[in-house]
Symmetry: C2
């Protein structure tokens, strides 16, 4: 059971797409293995249960967002511009990539138990995201960086959900203007 392998990678990547687009409890193991071109035996060689695959999916999404954020931070030389870069990045991501809502919120909706590994992974992601935004707000030198960071977390949630349910055309501009005003940036 190697940590990585072509079959495992293919399975996880396929599962990530299907879970995000169609939900988690709604798709069965049969669907996942046939779509990924993998055998059931191979599935259970790499993941002890379906829940472990779900947790791996959430952690994959978390890793992708951390990478995206690191890339964005690297391209903002002036720390006072960092918040603006983050806001633009979220807007872009919401419009073109995450059009089916927030993968973490959607996953949490299907797992009521806060102690479930999936929920633990969601909480880890949110803790990182809040800490990162508070750090960016501090670097930008705004008043009450903790409050601004928290509010930006809420606003990203709202942007992802609103874009899914009301369409990006109405949700994204609203997110953008509210977030920029909060960050002390001119619109």
């Amino acid at each position: 059971m190697p940590r990585t392998s072509p079959a495992r990678d293919r399975l996880l990547a396929t599962a990530a797409q299907i879970f995000y687009r169609e939900g988690i409890h709604a798709v069965g193991v049969d669907r996942l293995v046939t779509e990924a071109g993998v055998t059931r035996a191979t599935f259970y060689k790499h993941f002890p249960s379906k829940d472990d695959l779900v947790r791996a999916y959430v952690e994959l999404e978390d890793a992708a967002l951390r990478r995206l954020f690191a890339d964005g931070a690297a391209q903002a030389d002036d720390p006072s511009e960092l918040l603006g870069v983050v806001i633009d990045g979220v807007a872009l991501d919401v419009e073109h990539h995450h059009t089916r809502g927030c993968p973490f919120i959607n996953a949490a909706a299907e797992f009521p138990d806060p102690e479930h590994p999936v929920r633990v992974a969601v909480r880890a992601h949110r803790d990182w995201f809040e800490a990162t935004l508070v750090g960016a707000a501090e670097a930008a030198g705004v008043d009450d960086p903790a409050g601004v960071g928290r509010s930006l977390v809420l606003l990203r949630d709202a942007a992802l959900v609103g874009s899914y349910l009301d369409g990006p055309a109405v949700a994204v501009p609203s997110f953008r203007s509210t977030a920029r005003r909060l960050a002390g940036l001119g619109s």
Copy 2:
């Protein structure tokens, strides 16, 4: 098949609680009927399928919120105070009643097809809510009432989701201060 009956009411009320607390695809018909003290035959007498019960659940939640809002509006004599009453009402609801997130967002997470009756019901609710908030913003005489109304929709989403995933202690004050500033009210 009467529009209402003790058995039907009991079934719908029970289903609403269980769907909200545990999700929709995760709970089966067996669970619903035993918990409600109703027979499978009675279930299918009143609802052609489980999906119809889910739609009824979403519509029930919508009706409850419209009633809550109407009550709140009635107790605000001065229209300039209406937005503040709404914000307080949302904060109270999020803290004490809707502690498992937004029923509409959670339901939408489990139904990817935008044409599905459940999604149609969700959209109807959100359209009503936005129109109502824009109306309240107009009555309060704020600048750009459409923008303020939209933003308040986003903020309620964020408050419900944030309260579920991060806890009300951190999400509610953040919602409150952001919303009040947006509505042009002193904090």
